[in-house]
Symmetry: C2
Subunit: 342 residues, 2 copies
């Protein structure tokens, strides 16, 4: 993208978002609703969102927290191998996807899947394929922290091969191994965060230790980031922006054993615009990465929203309602000028 004074993004979508619940939901929902047309809402509450009633009630709480009609929460269920076709049919209209967590791998994932036995998973996954419900996956093993995602690629491939009609989204990919897998199976897709396009482990632990850049999957090596950048900047048709914006209270991020998650929702579009400009990537690729690709992959038509960004230094606030964002107190090149809804 050549340097420009103004950029307009149409109907940005965040295909991986944690909105939490209760007070945190109240505090952060507007950060996403302001600049995104909609977002895939992750279901890892305590307890996880796993029934029709819970999806409906959570969606209502989100809408109440936002207090406006110009943002679509695309709801998800927390995957359980016991889901059957009758249940999935009954809940189909309320959800956009189902999210699978390996057990114990990240925040509130204790009830996830242990072992990936294809036959055990077959009834649920075949029903999802028939009902065209995409499966979103947090793809990490419980191995060494730098290897967890690369080790999971064989599980992605096993699932993709066994369920060729199931759309499988490799969520928040961080490695060249996952990028390479994209083109090996027609039914594998991926989301990529803004922070994994910007940082490596060096930024987290190469100088001082930076808890606000600590996330799961952890940021990887420079060659991994390069591989992610290559497909994001080219808007590879199988990749979508998903922030994985994951707020924790300031005290939990700066505590002695700090929780994983980077809060990027309020600054994601500004950072993405700056990144695409720095790499001289065309605006239409940014538009495809933040909306067009997701519309095609998920077959969704987002609410109309035009986000106008201007090239004007923006000092990122220290916090948004008590949640510290990525690059707090730092200056970035783009700011939101206006948002035109409808």
């Amino acid at each position: 993208m050549p340097s420009t004074n103004q950029v307009t993004l149409n109907a940005p979508l965040d295909m991986h978002l944690h909105l939490r619940d209760g007070e945190m939901l109240e505090n952060i929902a507007s950060s996403s609703a302001r600049t995104f047309s909609g977002a895939i809402i992750m279901p890892n509450l305590v307890p996880p969102v796993s029934s029709k009633e819970e999806v409906i009630a959570y969606k209502a709480r989100i809408k109440e927290a936002i207090g406006a009609e110009d943002f679509t929460p695309y709801m998800t269920l927390f995957f359980k191998p016991t889901y059957d076709k009758a249940f999935l049919s009954s809940v189909r209209d309320e959800i956009t996807a189902i999210k699978l967590y390996p057990a114990g791998i990240t925040t509130n994932s204790e009830g996830g899947v242990s072992g990936f036995n294809v036959e055990e998973l077959r009834p649920a996954l075949e029903a999802m394929a028939e009902l065209d419900i995409p499966l979103c996956v947090h793809g990490e093993t419980n191995g060494f922290v730098m290897d967890r995602e690369a080790e999971f690629v064989s599980i992605y491939e096993k699932l993709a091969g066994a369920f060729p009609k199931l759309k499988i989204i490799m969520e928040h990919i961080t490695t060249k191994a996952s990028v390479a897998a994209l083109d090996r199976f027609e039914n594998l897709y991926a989301t990529i965060t803004i922070h994994h396009l910007l940082i490596t482990l060096d930024d987290v632990a190469g100088g001082m230790l930076k808890p606000h850049l600590f996330c799961k999957p952890i940021a990887k090596r420079p060659e991994d980031r390069d591989a992610l950048l290559k497909v994001a900047l080219a808007a590879h048709p199988k990749v979508m922006f998903g922030s994985d914006s994951a707020p924790h209270p300031k005290h939990a991020k700066e505590a002695c054993g700090c929780a994983a998650g980077v809060f990027t929702a309020p600054v994601a579009l500004q950072l993405l615009t700056e990144l695409f400009e720095e790499h001289n990537a065309p605006l239409d690729k940014l538009q495809a990465f933040v909306s067009g690709n997701a519309q095609k992959i998920y077959s969704i038509t987002p609410l109309s929203k035009q986000v106008v960004l201007e090239k004007k230094p923006f000092k990122i606030p220290s916090d948004y309602n008590g949640v510290v964002p990525m690059y707090a107190d730092e200056k970035i090149a783009y700011s939101i000028k206006e948002v035109i809804n409808g």
Copy 2:
């Protein structure tokens, strides 16, 4: 080492120790002096210890902080390429080694060496070889955090080859690459910390983020730790225990951008004894690793001190005078029963 109720270590030596200065020195000096006969004292104060007067004065401050005569601070200078033979001869009796820091690589190392031009370093390093002054090196490049030490191995080899009579100590090694280099050059030696024998990056950032386990060099991969364990437990004659115990005030460790360093001095011998027992390594190997090898490599005769450890659960305190130790509040298997000086 078979399970045993009591272990006596003779004249333990810590061949890599940060005692700091001022209030911190007062707070932590006794943690080392209690259980070690002596320690190599690192010179990275602000400003770094780089003159005869500074060495003498720093040694006096250390002795005053300890207030007893049963601990030897083996003093070091902060390496400068401008040191010449006349200066080194004049300071020889006051120092045991000289420590080289690549510029800007760790705490207070800004005045270190940039580039490793053999001819520029030749006058100082040849004089050190003639005077039998070992060169202790913090071996990291400014590359990607997980690669910095392995990348530095070629510099170790360049120096070891160019100055075959210079004893070069690869300090606080953390990788299988450094372990492998040990046997390729007769004049390469190494120190190993207790924390790098116990943890990998998984312990620092695999679950919650743990600032009290964050250090430089950062803990590496499981296969790296395995390589370190192999030579430590066998008391490879070219490796010595060096804690790299590096205290920072609690607030600096738990701050948003946390400083690197693990404080192990008061718990190192207990943890080492537990580790050697767990791996069934013979007691004489532990004795060699914590004292015998260092005596031979450095040609030093430490003060007599017998440290009696007993197998009795020890809950590590939350802090020692405001400095949080490794494994604070956790229980370990061995405790110090008594220390017999003289």
